[in-house]
């Protein structure tokens, strides 16, 4: 049963690799942005998974019914990270709108290749 608790970590590696593939090998700017969001989801999943203790309950009680509680600190870190991710996503999408208005294309290779 130990292997069952390692599945989230494998999912993290998978998400980060899929996200990196999208950033590295896709030419559409929107797909690059989606790739960054997938990497961010992977890292957030990693943060939450670190806080789980076997057989624990959610750390939301002030007078708990007893037993082990999952660690609350990684959950706070993940909330901060999600908020930062939303801000960055909004900024990237607005820049993508500006880029499309200027260049008429969303191809990263063509936009980057134009010197002056």
């Amino acid at each position: 049963m130990i292997a069952l608790y390692n599945i989230p970590f494998l999912a993290v590696i998978g998400l980060v690799l899929v996200g990196l593939y999208a950033v590295l090998f896709r030419r559409n700017i929107i797909k690059i942005i989606i790739g960054i969001t997938i990497i961010e989801s992977g890292v957030n999943l990693f943060l939450i998974t670190l806080g789980y203790r076997e057989g624990s309950i959610a750390p939301i009680y002030t007078s708990s019914p007893g037993g082990l509680m999952a660690m609350p600190v990684p959950q706070a870190l993940t909330l901060t990270s999600i908020v930062i991710g939303v801000a960055v996503l909004a900024l990237m999408l607005s820049l993508a709108i500006h880029l499309f208005r200027h260049y008429g294309t969303l191809d990263a290779r063509e936009i980057g290749g134009k010197e002056e």
């Binding site: 990196l20 950033v23 090998f25 896709r26 690059i32 990263a108 980057g112």
Partner: protein
């Protein structure tokens, strides 16, 4: 003398040498003064504004300013042409494509993981 000037006047010492900029600057000022005094011994009899002070072109006509202007990208032409293979390789690597930038990061990360991480 005034003691608060002491930290400003110390010599800068590396392990194997020293450098004192105030001594250097004083030597430079004395050299300039000597040059200025020597210049004062020169011939002062010339008329400004006539042919005696204009640049000498050996009788050639003076071209327009636009034709005489050396552009910035024409300088060091010999250098960039003779080492052209190096410059062209490097310039081609700077593509401007954001995916290539992240690809370089992943390559450096992989190399560092192999060397330091010992995977």
């Amino acid at each position: 003398m005034l003691e608060f000037l002491d930290p400003f006047l110390k010599t800068f010492e590396t392990g194997t040498g020293f450098w004192n900029p105030l001594v250097w600057a004083t030597a430079l000022v004395i050299a300039f003064l000597a040059m200025y005094i020597l210049r004062g011994f020169g011939n002062k009899q010339f008329k400004t504004g006539t042919e005696q002070t204009k640049a000498f072109l050996s009788g050639n006509p003076e071209y327009e300013k636009q034709q005489m202007h050396i552009k910035g990208s024409n300088m060091y032409w010999g250098f960039t042409e003779s080492l052209g293979w190096l410059f062209h390789q490097l310039k081609k690597m700077h593509t401007g494509n954001v995916s290539d930038y992240v690809l370089w990061f992943v390559i450096v990360l992989a190399v560092l993981l192999l060397v330091v991480g010992g995977i």
